[in-house]
Symmetry: C4
C-alpha cells in the first residue's frame, strides 16, 4: 500500500503495519506534524524500526530505517536526518524486553496533565484500564527533565542518558507523562500501543470534562487489570477500522 519499497531486513508486513500506525496516529489526532512511533524488529530484538525525520502522516515504507537498540543510532551508513528523540525508543527497548512498540506524542488532552502541578491522570473508564492496575497503581508517572538535566534544556530526550532516565520513570507501567512536552506509550504490539495512545487521550479528555462535575471515580486496580485484559483482546476491532480509514482510496492519510 505504501507505494515504495521496504528497505529494511524486517518482514514486509511489519513495515506496512508501522506505516499504517503512523497514518492512524495522525488521523486519530494523536500526533500532528510531530511525534513518532516505532516497532521492535521482528527478526532481531536488538534492532527497531522508525521513520526518518518527517511528519508521521507522510511516512511511506521507504522512509523506515533500522536502528540499534544499544546506541539509538541508525544502522545504515550516511543516514538521512533522524528524529532528535530516537533515544526515547532505544532506551525503552533496552530496559523493557517485553515492549514491542513505542509511541511518543503531544496528545492534546494529555498535555494539561503534563503542565499543571499536582494533576494526576487516572483510569476512569473501562477503555483505559491500562493506565492503572497492579503495575501502575497511581496512574502514569510524570518525568521532569529539570531533575535530570537542569532548568535550561530544550526538553527533548536528546541522548542515551535522558532516554534511560525516561525509561526509569516509565518503570513497569505503560505510559509516562513528560512535563511541558507530551507522553510516551508502550505496548506488546503496534496495534496495542496505538490503541493505548488513542485511549490515553480519550481518558484524559474525559477527566478534563468530569473534574468540574465532582469527585471522579477511578477504576480500582482490579478493574483496571481486568478491563485491560478484556479490551486488548478486542484490539483488532479498532485496528481494522483505523486501517481502513487510512487506506481508503480517497488520498493520503493527511
Amino acid at each position: 500500500m505504501s507505494g515504495a519499497p521496504n528497505t529494511t531486513t524486517a518482514s514486509a508486513g511489519l513495515v506496512d503495519e508501522l506505516v499504517d500506525a503512523n497514518h492512524i496516529l495522525h488521523q486519530q489526532g494523536i500526533v500532528d506534524a510531530f511525534g513518532h512511533v516505532s516497532v521492535r524488529h521482528d527478526r532481531d530484538a536488538g534492532r527497531f524500526l522508525l521513520a526518518r525525520n518527517m511528519a508521521p502522516a507522510r511516512v511511506q515504507a521507504a522512509d523506515i530505517l533500522e536502528y540499534a537498540v544499544d546506541s539509538g543510532e541508525a544502522l545504515a551508513p550516511d543516514p538521512p536526518r533522524l528524529y532528535l528523540e530516537r533515544h526515547i525508543h532505544s532506551e525503552i527497548y533496552r530496559a523493557r524486553p517485553d515492549v514491542m512498540a513505542v509511541v511518543h506524542n503531544h496528545s492534546p488532552a494529555v498535555l494539561p496533565f503534563c503542565v499543571a502541578r499536582g494533576a494526576t491522570l487516572k483510569p476512569v473508564c473501562h477503555m483505559a484500564g491500562f493506565l492503572g492496575g497492579s503495575d501502575a497503581r497511581d496512574g502514569p508517572a510524570l518525568f521532569e527533565i529539570r531533575g535530570h538535566a537542569g532548568p535550561a534544556t530544550d526538553l527533548l530526550i536528546r541522548n542515551r542518558e535522558l532516554g534511560a532516565a525516561l525509561a526509569s520513570s516509565l518503570a513497569r507501567s505503560r505510559v509516562v507523562l513528560m512535563r511541558g512536552h507530551g507522553c510516551t506509550v508502550v505496548g506488546p504490539s503496534l496495534p496495542v500501543a496505538v490503541y493505548r495512545a488513542v485511549y490515553t487521550e480519550v481518558n484524559a479528555k474525559l477527566m478534563l470534562q468530569a473534574l468540574p462535575l465532582g469527585e471522579v471515580i477511578a477504576l480500582t486496580p482490579e478493574e483496571a487489570d481486568a478491563t485491560r485484559v478484556t479490551n486488548e483482546g478486542q484490539v483488532m476491532r479498532p485496528w481494522q477500522l483505523w486501517r481502513e480509514q487510512v487506506r481508503r482510496p480517497r488520498g493520503p492519510a493527511v
Copy 2:
C-alpha cells in the same frame, strides 16, 4: 446499499435500517470502534438483530445476525465472534416489550456523568425531553456494576444476570448511565433510538458547558413529556439527513 446479502429472516428493509443506524452512530460521533446497536426482529418478537463483533462503521448486511431474546445467544450454529455485551440487548428486550431498538455507546460528553460522583444528567433543552418526564423524573439512573458484581470486574455486561440488573436500573425510562463505561438508550424504533442517543450527547455537552455559568434550568416533567412527543414526531427529519450523509457515494461510512 450494503453490497452484501441479507442473511436473516427479518425484512430486508429492517436490515438495511440497522446497517444505516450503525453508520449514522459512527458518523455522528456517538460510537467509535466500540458500541453497538440492535433492533427487535419484525416478524418474531422473541428475536433481535445485531451485528457480529466489529466496529459499527464497518457493518454490512451480511454481518447482521439473529439472536434469541431469551438467551442472548446467536441462533445460527457456529456463529462468528459475538459482542461480549449482547446481554445488554437481550435482557432489555425481555424486560421491555415496548422497546424495539437498543443503542449502547461510550458517547464522549455523556461519560463525564458516568464517572463524577453526584453529577446528574437532566433534560435542559427541548431536543432532549426524553431524558426526563413522567417516566424518568430525575433523569437517567446510574448503574453501578460494583453493586452487582463487586469491585474487580471488567465493567462489561457479560451475562444474563448483569443484563437483567441493567434492565432493572433502566426501569421504564429511556436512558441508563453505566459507571465508568457509557450508556444504553432505547426506543420504539431505530430512528427514535438513534435520535435519542445523538441528543443525549447534545444535552450532556450542553450541561458541561452550562454548569460553570450558573444554576441550570431543567425542563419541567410536563415540558419533558411534551417536547418528547413533539420532537419524536419529527424524527424522520434528522433520519433522512443522516441516511443521506452515510449513503453518499464518496465511500463507506468510515
Copy 3:
C-alpha cells in the same frame, strides 16, 4: 445551482441565496437537522420565503415555499408539511419592517446562555458588535416561554401569539435567546443574518472559554456600534467563501 425549479414568484437570485443560506448554516455548524432560515419576498413585503419541513442541508429551490407575513401560513393550496415554528418568522417580519432575513437555530455554544440562570451573552470581540450597541445595551434578551404559556409547553413557537411575544422580546435588537431552546437572529439581508448567526456562536464560545480566566471585558456600546458598521460592510468576504464551500462539486452540503 440547486438543480430544481424555482416555484415562487420571488426572483431566482433570492431563492438561490436562500438555498445557499440553508447549506451554509449547516456547513458552519449553526444548524443540525433542525433550525430554519427565511427571507422576506423581494417583490412583496407581505410575504416571505421558507423551506418546507426538512433539514436545512437538504433544501433545494423546489422546496422553498411562500408564506404570508400576516398569518404565517403557506400561500399555496394543499402545502406539504411545514415547520411548526414558522410563526417565529412571520411575527418578526410583521413587527420589524427593517428585517429582511431571519435565522432560528440551536447553536451549540449559545445554548448554555439559554439554560443557565443569570448568564448573559455580551459582545466581547469585534466580530460580534451586533450583539450590543445602542439598540441592545445589555446584550440579547432571554425569552422565557413559561411567562407566556405556562410550565407545560413543548417550548415551540407554535402560533401567532407566541411569535408576537418573541418578537416583542427581540424588540429593536438583532438576537433573542430562547430558554431551553436556542436563539433567533435577524438582519437586513440573508448574508448579514447568516453572518450574525455564525458570529453569535463564535462570541458565545469565546465567552465560555474566557469566563473561567477572569472578568470579561465587553465592548462599550460605542465600540459595538462601530464594529457592527465596519464588519457588516465586509460581509461579502465570508459570504463568498461560504458559498464556494457549499457549492463545491464534491457533493451536497451535507
Copy 4:
C-alpha cells in the same frame, strides 16, 4: 499551483509560498474568512506582499499585491479593495527589520486571553517557546486600543499611527495580543511565522484546559529560548505536511 499569474516583482517562489500560507492558516483553523498574512518582498526590503481584501482560503497568486512599507498603501495605481488593517503589516516591517513575515488572526483559543482581564498567555509546552524567552519574559503583551484611540473605535488598526502603536507593544517579541480582537505574530520567514501562529493557538488551548487543574508550570526563559531554537530548526517538517494538505488534488483549500 495557484492557476493564476504572479503579478508582482517578487520571485514566483515567494508568491507561491504566500498563497500556501494563506491556505494553510485556514486549513489549520487559525483564520476563518478574516485574518491575513504577508511577507516582506525578497528583492526590496521597503515593500511587502499581501492579498487584496478577501478570505485567505480563496487567495490565488493573481490576488497578491505589493505594498510600500513606508505608507502601508498598495503600489499599483487604482488597486482593488484592500484590507483595512494593512497598517499592522507595514508598521511592523518598518519597526522590525528582522521581521520577514506577519500573520494577523482571530485564533479561537487565543481570544480568551484577549478579553479576560488579567489572563496571561505563557509558554507552557516545548512547541511554543517562542512565546517567552529572553525577549519576552512575561509572554505576549496585550495591546489595548482604548489607550491609544479611546473607547469608541471599531478596534481595527486603520492607520499608520495605530500600526505604530501596535508595533511598539510588540517590541522585540514575536506575538502581541489585541484586546477584544485577536493577535499578530511575526517571524523571520513565512514557514516560521505560520508555525508560530499555529502553536500560539495550541499553547493557548492547552492553557485553557490546564488552568482548572492547578498551577501551570511555565517554561523557564532558558527553556523557552532553547526550545525555540530547536523547534524552529525543524520547521520544514510541519510546513511540508501542511503544504501537501492544501495542495492535494481534492479541490481548493476551502
